[in-house]
Amino acid sequence: MPKILTISELTHDLKEVLENIFQEVWVEGEVSNLRSPGSGHSYFSLKDAQSTLRCVLFRNAAARLKCALADGMHVVASGRIGVYGRDGQYQLYVDTLQPKGTGALQMAFEQLKVRLAQEGLFDEARKKPLPFLPETIGVVTSPTGAVIRDILQVLERRFPRARVVINPVRVQGEGSAEEIARAVEEFNAWGQPDVIILARGGGSLEDLWSFNEERVARAIAASGIPVVSAVGHETDYTIADFVADKRAPTPSAAAEMVMPVETELRERIDQLVKHLWRSLVDVVPQQSQHIDDLCEEMRRALQNRFEAKKLEVDGFCRELEALNPLAILRRGYSVTMAEDGRTAIRRTDQLKTGDRLKTRLAKGEFLSRVEEVIA
């Protein structure tokens, strides 16, 4: 007689066997019958052409998803198999879940882009201007390969004495997004770079994926130092590009964007100094012209005054003329003075016999002697 088990006993045995063997499985399939009740947990099935697997996605695992689940989505899920005794069901308790294929990645990209755009992370208003002449340039990229070489070459060509600090990161693969984000944060904590270049060479959407991760977007948005992103080729746009303060089509272009050309700068300063001298040379003649004008004006003013005065003076002159003793002399009068010619003789008591006198006529003078004082 075989041993008869209760349902619970059998379920318990199955549970032990299954859960022991399938502690971690990876499966691929299409999402169907998705239900997401208010609890935040999600229930769905993964299916392929022949079979179906019931799946549970708990709330905390759901929060880690890169994109929202949807029926028809092709995904790769990992987790453990568990047995749910009440329904006699085995199911996958999902730990990680990723969209599979470019279509799904594209979807994840679009979803994050919309979400961050709604949050205002791409707004022009929050973008910082790049420094005019950075003294230290931080570069977050792989320390090997063409990208860093291109950047250093362009910088060398434009400004041979720039200071560049590279924060080396992996630019693709598991954990690379975290490294990139942390490198940006490290530069900010350190504080020395005036600008940060975030760069990666071209690649597929999967290759560039780290730059589409929210973690990276958040680090860029939080950066107090302006960030220039240069990810992939000219036609590739990543989330990092949208959040960055400036997007450069290529790593070389990013280097061009952050660094002015030294010779051009020097030329500009030269030009300015020339202008400065010229403006001084311009100003002084302008000023001396001004002074000339003032002089002329003063002269004219004086002259006018002088003309007025002259008339006045003419009047005075005529008056004086009338008083001029010479004029009286011309009429036949004469002046008699003491011999020294200083004292005019007005009365005879000024005289005594024998005094020598000087007499002035209209024309000439003569000396005479007093013969007799009469009265």
Partner: protein, 72 residues
């Protein structure tokens, strides 16, 4: 003062010097300031040094800056 700021100020001074209202004393004062600014800009350029460095992380999470040597 930053490089860009100095350059902008220098440009402003040149503009001011061309304005007719400025007095001779003031224009000479401005001119001297302009010469100083240009000098400051050139000194900034001259003061820059070439340095290529790389961040190395220490165990305590602090940044250590080392000279960069490109790997072959």
């Amino acid at each position: 003062m930053g490089f860009e700021e100095s350059l902008k100020k220098l440009e402003k001074i040149i503009d001011d010097l061309h304005s007719e209202k400025i007095s001779l004393e003031k224009s000479i004062e401005k001119f001297e300031e302009g010469v100083k600014l240009a000098d400051h800009c050139l000194k900034t350029l001259d003061g820059m040094r070439k340095k290529i460095e790389v961040v190395a992380k220490t165990k305590d999470g602090k940044l250590k800056i080392k000279p960069f040597e490109e790997e072959a």
